[in-house]
């Protein structure tokens, strides 16, 4: 995760904790602390606090998230894997294309998409138009959700984006290519 991600998550969750606490106090004063709605409010606060604490812990010690690959390392792996696989099939044009894309942006969706297509073809020994379309649609949806998140981050906290090419414009560019 980037520093801007941590900042955004920390601010959003801190704000959410305050707002959830106000709501929970309002609920309790009306229905009593033992009511199920009040307990739902308490559970929401506890979960927000837990996520906030974990995010801060990961920010302080990024290695603590090693149980699953980080976004950056996963993106680097997906950028590397298709290139190696393309070389194995002696498809030098494809390898060159992937290398070019990966060199420009290791988080580009295209190498990750091709990697998924190749993984699918290996696992089922055949690939269909429907399956490729489904995979492409999934990558497209994930891309635009991520883009929308980045836009909201930029709108709410523009100062967190150090340089224009690191922010939403970069995301928009990678999708347009």
């Amino acid at each position: 995760m980037t520093e801007a991600d941590y900042e955004y998550l920390s601010r959003t969750l801190s704000d959410a904790r305050s707002r959830a606490t106000e709501i929970a106090v309002g609920v309790r004063s009306r229905v009593g602390a033992e009511h199920r709605i009040a307990e739902l409010g308490d559970a929401a606060i506890a979960q927000i606090e837990y996520v906030l604490r974990e995010v801060r812990q990961i920010a302080a010690d990024p290695s603590s998230t090693s149980q699953t690959p980080s976004f950056k390392s996963a993106a680097q792996q997906t950028a590397r894997l298709p290139i190696r696989q393309a070389e194995e099939t002696d498809s030098s044009d494809l390898a060159a294309l992937l290398a070019s894309v990966a060199q420009r942006n290791s988080q580009h969706w295209f190498p990750a998409f091709l990697n998924d297509v190749l993984a699918q073809s290996r696992s089922s020994d055949e690939i269909t138009f429907d399956e490729v379309e489904r995979l492409l649609q999934a990558h497209k949806q994930a891309f635009f959700e991520d883009l929308e998140t980045a836009r909201r981050m930029y709108r709410n906290y523009p100062h967190l984006v150090a340089a224009p090419e690191d922010g939403p414009r970069e995301l928009a560019r990678t999708g347009a290519e």
Binding site: I23, V27, E34, H35, R36, I37, V51, P69, D146, T149
Partner: protein
């Protein structure tokens, strides 16, 4: 106990706005850490609990059971 529907509507509106504003958190954590990461799943549960809270506030009529089951609304 005194019951004013408009107060619960107001609380439900605030809770719904909070749910909308925090919806990016699990999405971002999923994208950055992977969908199987504990933290991404905890964030998903957090969002689910908030959605349950919104639903409970909207449907509250002033005459509901006082306790939730032990498995409901519990997360992290």
């Amino acid at each position: 106990m005194y019951f004013d529907q408009s107060e619960f509507n107001e609380l439900a509106t605030r809770a719904a706005a909070l749910t909308r504003d925090i919806a990016d958190v699990p999405r971002l954590l999923r994208a950055r850490l992977g969908p199987g990461h504990d933290l991404a799943q905890s964030a998903e549960e957090m969002l689910n609990t908030l959605e349950q809270l919104v639903h409970a506030l909207r449907s509250y009529t002033g005459a509901e059971p006082q306790h939730m089951s032990s498995s409901e609304g519990r997360g992290a």
